[in-house]
């Protein structure tokens, strides 16, 4: 069946369904909360002595009257009173005595040290303008990249003339935020061998993430994502998803089905790149001790500005596509995207394939290769399995 047409989804859950999982408002370091706390239908107003730090507030809503709190992002204070008022719709967060509201959905706000994936949109005479999903384009100065032929080499005017040979429009780069300007725009650098031009893989933009991982990407009237998701008690509650700042944004994944090793970069800005693991770069970074600086440069620069893909086997391509779909499923169901969930979803998708493979007839030849479309009914099953898996892990940890 090439076309699937579904009836529209009527979202008839409780209007406050989104904040059914209160614990999400706390620091995102904690593990995903599994227990779906059922809330009273009518939400108590947050007043002076009420329990601050719960639920969702809307702009203009008084978060607290208590003068002991300091106001943080997403709030403001009337100079004449002590009450802290929300300026965005989102979850209340407490960090010691600092009270801030994290928007449910916002564009990425760059912070120093963030690992981001960006796309070059403009080449200027001494710098590039890079789309990093932030409100403003980030800039990557020519002086902030590794020039081929030695890290200690001075930038010359000849480099300026061939700026386009390093990066040009459309190229994807992995970079780090070096500084954030007054207006919120970022300056990037790629002065590390880990950074540079991306190739050998696919790009994926997780829409609507705010960097710190608050996003609601379920689309009303979309293909029933939110409805199915909540029916299955999706982990992490609905309304959150996307990439979060975490310990590891980049890791190598050992794929099944002969796919070999695949690298995944989760840019904090919600841009994701999945590509075939290459040994060359790995050798360069892992043998740092043994290789002299200049030699290292030679090894690294042999691929850093290349736009030629290596030979990639169909198996690897298929597993890269599977990983990319897994991430899309996570986003569709409002689950945060990090190493744990991506790995979990990948394993779950393999399991789903086994389940389906058993009872499916051979009627459809396209279904043979295990490269089905995952975003559909299967997506729900993946999430279900993932939730189980994560819950088990958590219990084990507690025990």
């Amino acid at each position: 069946m090439p076309i699937t047409i579904l009836p529209p989804v009527v979202e008839d859950q409780s209007p406050y369904q989104a904040d059914s999982d209160d614990s999400m408002s706390v620091d995102s370091d904690e593990d995903v909360e599994m227990t779906g706390v059922s809330r009273p239908h009518k939400r108590p107003r947050l007043q002076a002595n009420s329990n601050i730090g719960t639920g969702i507030v809307t702009p203009g809503e008084v978060v607290t009257d208590d003068p002991q709190w300091m106001r943080g992002h997403g709030t403001y204070m009337n100079p004449l009173s002590t009450s802290i008022i929300a300026t965005v719709a989102g979850n209340v967060q407490k960090t010691n005595k600092l009270l801030s509201v994290h928007p449910l959905r916002a564009r990425y706000t760059p912070e120093i040290g963030d690992l981001v994936v960006g796309r070059i949109v403009e080449v200027q005479s001494k710098r590039w303008k890079v789309d990093v999903a932030a409100p403003l384009l980030a800039q990557l100065p020519l002086s902030a990249i590794n020039l081929p032929g030695g890290i200690l080499r001075r930038r010359t005017s000849a480099d300026e003339l061939q700026i386009r040979t390093f990066f040009s429009e459309g190229d994807l780069v992995i970079a780090e935020v070096q500084s954030v300007h007054q207006d919120g725009s970022a300056s990037l650098h790629t002065r590390s061998l880990k950074y540079g031009k991306l190739r050998n893989g696919v790009f994926l933009a997780v829409t609507g993430t705010g960097g710190s991982g608050s996003a609601s990407s379920s689309v009303k009237g979309g293909v029933g994502a939110s409805a199915v998701g909540s029916a299955l008690a999706a982990p992490g509650g609905s309304g959150t998803g996307g990439v979060v700042r975490s310990r590891r944004q980049v890791w190598t994944h050992e794929t099944a089905n002969g796919g070999g090793e695949v690298d995944i970069i989760l840019g904090v800005n919600g841009y994701i790149y999945i590509y075939k693991h290459t040994d060359g770069a790995d050798a360069a970074s892992s043998t740092t001790e043994n290789v002299s600086i200049t030699r290292l440069e030679e090894v690294a620069s042999s691929s850093i500005y290349s736009s030629q893909n290596d030979d990639i086997s169909p198996q690897t391509r298929r597993e890269i596509a599977r990983l990319s779909q897994c991430i899309q499923v996570l986003v569709q169901y409002g689950v945060r995207v990090d190493e744990e969930t991506v790995t979990g979803a990948y394993q779950a998708s393999l399991q789903v394939d086994l389940e389906v493979g058993d009872d499916e007839d051979e009627e459809d030849e396209w279904r043979q290769e295990g490269r089905e479309y995952l975003q559909g009914a299967k997506g729900g099953r993946i999430i279900q399995l993932l939730a189980l898996d994560l819950a088990q892990q958590k219990n084990r940890k507690k025990a």
Partner: protein
Amino acid sequence: MASLPQIAIPGQRLGSLSSYSAGPGTHVQESFIYASIAGPVIADPAQPKIQPKPTLRVSRVISPKDLQPQNASTSDAAKPKPRYNTLPAIESNVLARVTRVQKRQAIVSILVVLDESEHLTSSQTASDNDNIASILTSAANPENHSGTDDLRFQALIRKEDVRAVEKDRVVMDEMFRVGDIVRGSVISLGDQSSYYITTARNDLGVVMARSEAGNMMFPISWKEMRDPVTGAGEPRKVARPF
């Protein structure tokens, strides 16, 4: 080796990649060389070491000498050649008019891209100058300065590319003035709009300029030109006259 046609039209098969290599004005499709523009077909002889096979190209410039290579000397009385759409490329020499002089760079608009063949043989340059004399005289005329710049490719001469020596002491105002005609060499295809040009060679720099008084000046040294009427000298980065 099949004989080559004298004239090709786009899409015409010229020869196999096994016996020729593809030059300008041609393209390759399934190991055959096809013409991509209409014009005379020229086979440049093979050069040992660099180019083992003769290079096939279709010429953009239609001149009699291309058609009768054996009596090239007779074509010295060159009539104006029809010149077609040459895009500035790296290392091509251009003539450009200065449109703005800023502290760190001069902005010029490219009037004409000189042929590669022309700067190879210096004897040809004289006739080449004749060819473009009309362009230059009209361009150097202050009345013609407005209007057509939008249709010309813009280029920059950065301060550090003006001359090869004493780069730090370059003052742009003493190198170029608006309206000067400059011979330069393209060093980069540049950013969105501008090309980059260098004049850091003896034969590059201002070739034609008018003085403050409005008279054509003649070069007296590598950094000065003089008004024949008033006798006043003005500083310029002067190209070596031939």
